[in-house]
Amino acid sequence: MTQVASFTIEHTRYLDLRGRPTQPLPAFAENRDVLIALYKAMVLTRTFDAKAVSLQRTGRLGTYASSLGQEAVPVGVAAAMRAEDVFLPSFREQGGQMLRGVRMVEILLYWGGDERGSDFTGPREDFPICVPVGTHAPHAVGVAHAFQLRGEARVAVCVFGDGATSRGDVYEAMNLAGVQRLPVVFVVNNNQWAISVPRARQTAAETLAQKAVAAGIPGIQVDGNDVIAVRQVVGTAIEQARAGEGPTLVEALTYRLSDHTTADDASRYRDDAEVSARWKEEPITRLRQHLSDGGQWTKTDEETLIGDCSAQVEAAASEYLATPPLPTTSMLDHLYATLPAALAEQRAEVEEATEP
């Protein structure tokens, strides 16, 4: 027997559970403003999630997927991107969408059942939320292929869950990205659960980062509750992709502290004790600890921030609730560039049926 190939998977973390550096921090993390911006984005995300859940509980929003405890992943990823890059989120990356400029009212509209929620005023080329798990990975590869064809120094960034890594199309997408050395970064938000299915039942692979080995691309693990690590590792992958060095798969290890969505009751399949234990690892406290250890964050700062976030979120909620519904005919008006003649009659029927 001769050895013909070998691979290793590395894991990166900068802050321990108490926010203390475990190794020298990356350059950006020496900048107070950068860290505080990350912190604020995470707190805003958590505030927004809480409001969305409460809107749902009171019948004013549809099913909603909270990112409680996982805020460092979308925030770290979005922070590592440039404005001109394209973000392809799953359905739990509102924190990243917000940081990139999607308005909170748009996110609420989407989950409230209004198509205008996916017509962002913000990053116009970013993809909308993707509900069919993992089906946006091929899109990311297509977007990256477009960048490569045009010779643009832009990167497509696609986030999906641990569950999504079991989907064949995610594998197919990574494999093509490898062949073409496309400027795309895949991030697995490994929150340990796919609804009720634990990570261990999703795959026998020891890590999800090693899914990359099958595609012949680098795979790397990062502490997904350490926003510094997420931003650093994803940022390096993005800049490599931008430089023409090809795709990377980053596995961010985190934990879903909430139910899967508001339609789910995680207590049916998951021990409270497990969840409590994981609360100790969540990313917001960790970064706050780090900031206050360095004297960069005071109680007053915190209170101001909480107030700010609430105000922003409340304003978005009010705007959402005040948005009048779409005209019923809109369901046919955006299907094709021009309404085909064959559909004119149906459009008239929609109008007729919905006349007051």
Partner: protein
């Protein structure tokens, strides 16, 4: 005997089938300890164990093919796709393998499998969670497509589907998962496949539907009855193969008919029914065949979904046109 819901009837049928035949297995996402997102399999893992109630990885392409392998080995896998919006990766295996394994091996290998999925709108679900794409399956040779419209039918038809030696796509109208309820004797008696059911008799017009639209259709029939018009209502139940005989014989008596379904109009299963009438029933047709269906567009997000789905009013409007025709 107590009143149960449609989703409870599904569970009852699954349990009964598993009880009586140990080759019956359940596969799917979150069907184990979570009991399925609609609780269709609630308690079954406790009762039948992990071997027979298997939580799968998130691999929709795989499930149907896995079931083909199990079926060829003599098991009767029942695979749950969590929502119909996620069932499309199964089509490759259904067309290329499940629907033809018996035929291509001349019966040496067979596929006694069931694919279950909740379908249809009306529960204000997120994007991709409300579609009705039964027509995609109803065109595929070698399979059956079955849709229950009541708890009793869910119980009886699912038992029949599981016992059937060939592949069945069993679509559950989730809008009526929880209501209305119905009394069901858990007697293991299957409801025949390949057969339409006349759920209301009438001489003036035939209304043909399936799944949750039975509610609006029956309501429309009641409204018409109050006006002295007696509508016959047919629940198609097995969409493939299609029992045109029952439909033709009803229209032979009534001379008028309307077909009601949630799926987009064009190329829906209603088209096949109307085509059958245009061919074999033409002589009896006193009026154009009405179709009330979803529009040929994507199911809107929840804020507009009620304007997409056929309502009693839309049904009545069409039926009145059909009745008025002379």
């Amino acid at each position: 005997m107590s009143e149960i819901t449609l989703v409870e009837a599904v569970r009852l049928a699954l349990a009964r089938a598993m009880e009586e035949d140990e080759t019956v297995l359940l596969l799917g996402e979150d069907i184990g300890i979570d009991g399925g997102v609609f609780r269709a399999t609630d308690g079954l893992i406790e009762r039948f164990g992990e071997r027979r109630v298997m939580d799968t990885p998130l691999s929709e392409s795989l499930f149907a093919g896995l079931a083909v392998g199990l079926g060829a080995q003599g098991f009767r896998p029942v695979v749950e796709y969590q929502f119909m919006g996620f069932i499309y990766p199964a089509i490759d295996q259904v067309v290329n393998h499940a629907g033809r394994l018996r035929n291509r091996t001349r019966g040496r290998l067979t596929c006694p499998m069931v694919i279950r999925a909740p379908y249809g709108g009306g529960i204000h679900a997120p994007e991709h969670h409300s579609e009705s794409m039964e027509a995609l399956f109803a065109h595929i040779p070698g399979i059956r497509v079955v849709i229950p419209s009541s708890p009793a039918h869910a119980y009886g038809l699912l038992l029949a589907a599981i016992r059937d030696p060939d592949p069945v796509v069993f679509l559950e109208p989730k809008r009526i998962y929880r209501a209305p309820k119905e009394e069901i004797a858990d007697d293991g008696v299957a409801t025949p496949l390949d057969q339409c059911f006349t759920v209301r008799e009438g001489r003036d017009v035939t209304l043909i539907t399936w799944g949750a639209m039975i509610i609006e259709t029956l309501a429309a029939a009641e409204t018409l009855a109050a006006e002295g018009v007696e509508a016959e209502v047919i629940d198609v139940a097995t969409l493939k193969p299609l029992d045109m005989a029952t439909i033709l014989s009803s229209v032979e008596r009534t001379g008028r008919c309307a077909i009601i379904h949630e799926a987009p109009l064009s190329g829906g299963v209603g088209a096949e029914i109307a085509a059958g009438l245009a061919n074999r029933g033409l002589v009896n047709l006193l009026a154009p065949v009405g179709r009330v269906a979803g529009y040929d567009t994507v199911m809107p997000l929840p804020r507009l979904e009620i304007y997409y789905m056929p309502t009693q009013e839309r049904i009545l409007r069409t039926v009145r046109r059909v009745l008025a025709y002379a």
